[in-house]
């Protein structure tokens, strides 16, 4: 299109002129580079018996799309980074190593190893060291323990002890996504583990909270992951965004040393870091609890990932937002506001008549079920429904 209109030479001339600041008219001119920005108030906690001082908001690197995000986190003062040997077949570790070259002594790295025979585990650690471009790993955790037997396996512990003695690893622990409470209780009985990486957020049970406290009291440093639980209420709470509120909720538990929210963009790490030095009111916490049941596998986080994927241009986010407002917040006034602003009637009709949906939710939401729920919401809103011509 561009080339057809103007040709390469003319394009180059225009680009060069503009970029060199020669073109008249619309240039904004150069601005001071890297302007001073308000940085977050850094909060540190001790990572259990390791004694390491970690920023309460740390970073899960796995979903990180670009080294720029890591550099931003570093500039913000975040000092603890969680990665794994297997993430993208080691490419994630490579990104950490490459990005923090020359900065290694200013950061702490946690990575993982899978349970195998000693030869394979040793090879895995060696590979991690090479990819991370370092001579030591600050925290090495077993990846994905799921049974108390694994947590107290003396063979695994023996290997970890060797790694420590050889200076390859400073501290060790385990990560878990399932049966977390029982694993933490088992870990608290022994002196095996320095750190536990657990899925922990406001949707989790009192039982897990108690187990986290027990493990923490035994000296295990608790690192929380999956802190956002997918997000929730869009309206800000106490000056915090939804993700910030969820993160803050986790950090209000003093048993947690730090959280490693999975971060993809610079904007997200800015948002997460902003949580340090803030607080939630009791009322906010009560609200947070109320939405807990609503969240279970149902909520659209309005991440925008599906925007533009529908060939008919249906804005799924708006449809799903009505479900969230009606079903989760029980606030039909908000639904009506959305209806007033958007062409939801046409969208709903298009969706209900569409035989195959190509829109995919990256958070695992069942889109068809959500659309059905959106239709039901509109049916239950006679006033708004009539206004927009929806059959009621």
């Amino acid at each position: 299109m561009l080339s057809e209109k103007m040709g390469r030479r003319k394009f180059m001339k225009n680009m060069s002129s503009a970029f060199l600041g020669v073109a008249t008219g619309h240039l904004l001119g150069s601005l001071p580079f890297a302007r001073a920005e308000k940085k977050p108030v850094l909060e540190y906690r001790t990572l259990g018996k390791t004694g390491l001082k970690v920023t309460t908001v740390s970073m899960g690197v796995m979903n990180c799309s670009d080294p720029a995000v890591l550099l931003r986190a570093f500039d913000l003062g975040i000092n603890f980074y969680d990665t794994a040997d297997c993430y993208m077949r080691g490419r994630n570790e490579e990104m950490v190593g490459q990005t923090f070259k020359g900065k290694r002594d200013k950061i702490l790295i946690q990575t993982k190893v899978h349970a195998h025979d000693e030869k394979k585990m040793r090879a895995s650690v060696e590979k991690s060291l090479r990819r991370l471009q370092t001579d030591h790993i600050d925290v090495l955790v077993w990846h994905g323990h799921s049974s108390p037997e694994e947590v107290s396996d003396p063979n695994l512990f023996e290997f970890m002890s060797k790694m420590k003695k050889e200076g390859k690893v400073r501290f060790t622990g385990f990560s878990t996504h399932s049966h977390m409470a029982s694993l933490l209780r088992e870990a608290a009985k022994s002196n095996f583990h320095d750190v536990a990486l657990v899925s922990y957020n406001f949707t989790h049970s009192k039982d897990l909270k108690e187990a986290v406290a027990l493990a923490s009291q035994s000296g295990i440093g608790i690192v929380a992951m999956k802190t956002k639980a997918g997000g929730y209420k869009k309206a800000k709470m106490g000056g915090l965004s939804p993700h910030q509120a969820a993160l803050k909720y986790v950090l209000m538990d003093q048993s947690v040393s730090c959280a490693v929210p999975g971060v993809t963009t610079i904007e997200q790490i800015d948002e997460c870091a902003g949580v340090m030095g803030t607080s939630l009111s009791k009322k906010n916490l009560e609200e947070l609890k109320q939405y807990q049941s609503f969240l279970q596998g149902r909520i659209c986080t309005l991440c925008g990932g599906c925007v533009g994927e529908c060939p008919y241009g249906v804005a799924r986010g708006d449809l799903l937002r009505t479900v969230m407002y009606h079903d989760g917040y029980q606030n039909d006034r908000l639904v009506e506001e959305v209806l007033e602003q958007r062409q939801l009637r046409q969208n709903t009709k298009l969706c209900s008549e569409c035989s195959s949906c190509s829109v995919i939710c990256r958070r695992g939401l069942d889109m068809k079920a959500q659309i059905r729920m959106a239709e039901e919401v509109l049916v239950h809103l006679p006033a708004a429904g009539k206004q927009f011509g929806v059959k009621v």
């Binding site: 073109a23 720029a68 990256r362």
Partner: protein, 294 residues
């Protein structure tokens, strides 16, 4: 009653066949295995909820890329039991997302000659074809068997769609082989750039990148360019201009983390070059890129 049942089964078979969908389990080789191999585990299916049980936290990345379901199996060498090959076939929903995951996993350009594009080393084979991303892991060095299994699985994926056209938009000169990646969100680490492709170029041992950010419509692309400009003006350095009267917009600046950047809008795309040293090279490359993008 029997007749009704017969008709129902017939309808089901017809529906399956007419949908063109390949049942995921059927992509796992079973009876047609290389003679020295045997299936010892699976096929085991994982869905969005259970994927964490299989690959732990890495499941998040797959979900980000539109993961639908996957099937897993383990093969064992009949003579050497410790010699095993693990196979994972992921249904990623569409070919773009399948390519996306593939592009995040491959380390360098070591094509194995299967699927739409592939990677092969002593222990690992990766490829994508249609909406499937396939990952094979060998416990012992075994590139020949990995290639054999990969070809077998590839042949079972009947969809013969061509490679993504967008990949051909990236100029070849200076392109680091196997460096084009797709990100479903957060291109260049920026939320506002949303989804898109990034490729690495090497000039005099210095790396720079071309990127293509994809939006719903031209207006959304224009808005993103505006946000980009605001972001650079806050955090970096910028000079910006409407380059020509026809409404094509562009900006030039310096990103605090990525280096020098030039971006312009073409339809519902933003195209850019970032991290370069020599402006002339970067401009030439961007111009070729713009010309290629249809």
């Amino acid at each position: 009653m029997v007749m009704t049942l017969f008709v129902l089964v017939g309808i089901l078979i017809w529906c399956e066949a007419s949908s063109g969908a390949t049942p995921l389990e059927s992509l796992i080789p079973r009876k047609d295995l290389p003679k020295e191999w045997t299936l010892i585990h699976g096929p085991q299916i994982y869905n969005k909820k259970s994927l964490f049980e299989h690959i732990n936290g890495q499941a998040e990345l797959f979900l980000q890329y539109g993961f639908q379901k996957s099937v897993f199996a383990i093969y064992q060498n009949k003579e050497r039991k410790e010699n095993q090959i693990e196979a994972d076939i992921y249904d990623m929903g569409n070919v773009v997302q399948a390519f996306g995951v593939f592009s995040r996993f491959r380390n360098e350009d070591r094509p194995g000659g299967f699927g739409l594009d592939s990677y092969l080393d002593d222990h690992t084979a990766l490829f994508y074809k249609s909406k499937y991303f396939v990952l094979l892991y060998a416990t012992e060095s075994n590139p020949d068997s990995l290639r054999q299994f990969s070809k077998l699985i590839s042949s079972k994926i009947l969809d013969s769609s061509p490679p993504l056209k967008v990949l051909s938009y990236f100029p070849k000169n200076g392109l680091k082989s196997g460096s084009i990646q797709y990100f479903p969100e957060g291109l260049l680490g920026h939320k506002f750039l949303k989804k898109g492709f990034r490729a690495t170029y090497v000039d005099d041992e210095k790396e720079s990148h071309l990127f293509l950010s994809v939006f719903k419509d031209p207006q959304e692309a224009t808005n993103a360019l505006k946000v980009y400009k605001e972001d650079l003006s806050k955090k970096g350095k910028i000079s910006s201009a409407n380059l020509i009267p026809s409404g094509i917009k562009a900006l030039k600046g310096e990103d605090p983390y990525q280096g020098k950047v030039m971006v312009l809008q073409k339809g519902f795309y933003l195209l850019g070059v970032i991290g370069f040293e020599k402006e002339e090279n970067a401009e030439n490359r961007l111009a070729e890129f713009v010309k290629n993008v249809k």
